[in-house]
Amino acid sequence: MNRIAIKVRTSLASKVIVSTVLLSLGVVWLTGSALYSQLSDGVKQVNLETSLAEARSSFFNAQYQFLLINGAQTSIISKAVQDVIIASTAVSLNQDRKSIFVSRFGIPAKSIGKTPSPDYSTATDGLDVSSFPTELRKRVRSSDLVEYQYAKVRYQNRADANVLIAGRRIAIPDSGNYEMYLVYSLNNQSKTLSLIQSSLLITGLALLFLIGLITWLVVRQVVRPVREAARIAQQFTQGDFSQRMKVESTDEIATLGNAFNDMALSLESQISRLENLSRVQQRFVSDVSHELRTPLTTLRMASEVIYSHRESFDPTISRSSELLVAQLDRFERLLEDLLEVSRFDAEVAVLEPVDFDLVNLIERCIQDVRANSHDHVISINIDHETEHVMIKADIRRVERIMRNLLSNALDHAEDKPVNVTIVSTESEVAIGVRDYGTGIEATALSRVFDRFWRADPSRARVRGGTGLGLSIALEDARLHNGELDAWGLPGEGAHFVLTLPKIAGEQIAGRPIRPQPFDYPQNV
């Protein structure tokens, strides 16, 4: 039952068929019952008229007979009464059975001689006269006309039956006044009516079935293309754009099919155009990289050769060679960062996870960054609970994140120390890089990971960062399914926290290190 309900709710065809059949049921029911009531009224009317006509003729015949034998001998009268009873109850072949009931009422006729006047009261067919409606008998006694009534009467030897009773007052000579009733069985009539009823029922049911069938056929014609469209749309979702709807006619369904196919064609061409664009873009970036790198290599080598001989030049040329080397360094870093950003944008950045010791890597990064900070030496403290933290991640990317965070911290540390904290849990590892330098404005906090964004444009670029470092670091972290958070307050320094899953690609459950540092009042 439940399954049917679901089917009806989810299938358009079932829905239409069920509602059509239900509505048709109502219509068929109404017309059927109207037809039945008209037919049955007609049948009853005809039956009544026939029966009453026959009853009148029977009564007339009886009256006529009795009139003829007025004053005759008792035996003749008795014989005449018998004849009348036989004649009245005689039935033709296709007629229903008939019974008769004769009953004397009122004052009997004066007796002649010694014998009392004979009573011809009788009932045929085992009629139980007590079941006769008294109201009808009252009317018959007081009326000169034929009276009739439908009633249910009892029989002594068979079941109760619905009958039509027609009665009239009749006088029998030398005996008195009688009520004479003809009882017509309605058996045939009810048979006819039930026949009509059942044929109407069967016709109705057949009609309903046919309506259902026709609806199904019609609906199928409409629904099949819709189902087809749905199937093809699903294939589209799965990336197969080659499917098309079959269009075999020129009706609305064909219009749907054509519109659908047009849409598919347009989608397909749009997507292939975009794919093509993205391919061209990637290709372009790759070509640019190649085309730029070769001259850059020559440039770098040439500048190094000049730089290595700077002692023999006069001071301006010597300084120029230094600047040349430094700017080429910067140019190269910028090129690398731009290429990396374009790889992220094209979604072709690939994670290459290996097992390695994170603590070891970070210590090496700190050494390198320290070695590169020529002009000022800032202390970097590392604080970790365990000696080794083994993780599975893309070592080049993690190294790049750490270098970016460390050089960013040194850039803004204002000669104050930088603290690095490592906290490892069951499923993730967190690295906090805390400086106590210029800090970050609250409004700027959301923008620190934006490309080429600088906290203070007028500030000197001490280390010549590319402006892409933090943005790339964030992308690198997210590629691992990790996260990079920033905290900062003006004058209070900044805190960058990298959280990585211990196995790259798995989810991180929480933040082992909160971005808001512990050394800063929590309620401010």
Binding site: S286, H290, T298, L299, R300, A302
Partner: protein
Amino acid sequence: MTLVMVVDDDQDLAEMLGIVLTGAGIDVDLVSRGDEVLEVFRNNPPDLVLLDVMLPGLDGIEVCKLIRAESMVPIVMLSAKGDTHDVVRGLEAGADDYMVKPFRHPSELIARIRTRLRRTNADVSGLLTIGDLSIDVTAHEISRGAKKIALTRLEFDLLVALAKEPGRVFTRDALLGEVWGYRHSTDTRLVNVHVQRLRSKVEHDPERPEIVMTVRGVGYKAGVLGGS
């Protein structure tokens, strides 16, 4: 004098490489087309080949395969692309080392070339064994029983590095320092590809190595005869 063949289609870069290498006391043979390499190589065999990947005539990868088919000479690939895919393709074609343009310093290039030309295991001599292989370091020969196995110099050096300290587990970084002469590098692709190439030559079943064993999460060590 050491002779290095520089194969690059960029005339200026080739000239610059020539200046730098000559300045370091290395003779240079310049070739600008991929399909000319083999002829020059046969006429005047160099001690090392510096090979660009993108070349007219014949692709650098193909050139690398052709040279490898007839010589064990050290090959250093120069590539403008640093993607793993490109690097691995070059190494699998038989390159010993690769450098992504632009190099940080010309000195870095020279250091790499010197490392490839030097006998890295000069301190070792005589016979070593690793698994069921015997290594004649002096004669530069590897054999399993009577059968000799041909290895490139780099593969030989890698195997000797492992064999001379049988109990030690080498991290990939340590191997990079020992065999390639890198100081600070996390480029483990180099080690992985070469270990695979070495295994395909010396192992009975490269899928289940017995000579160059993997120590999960750490690195590699030499296999012990009969043990696993």
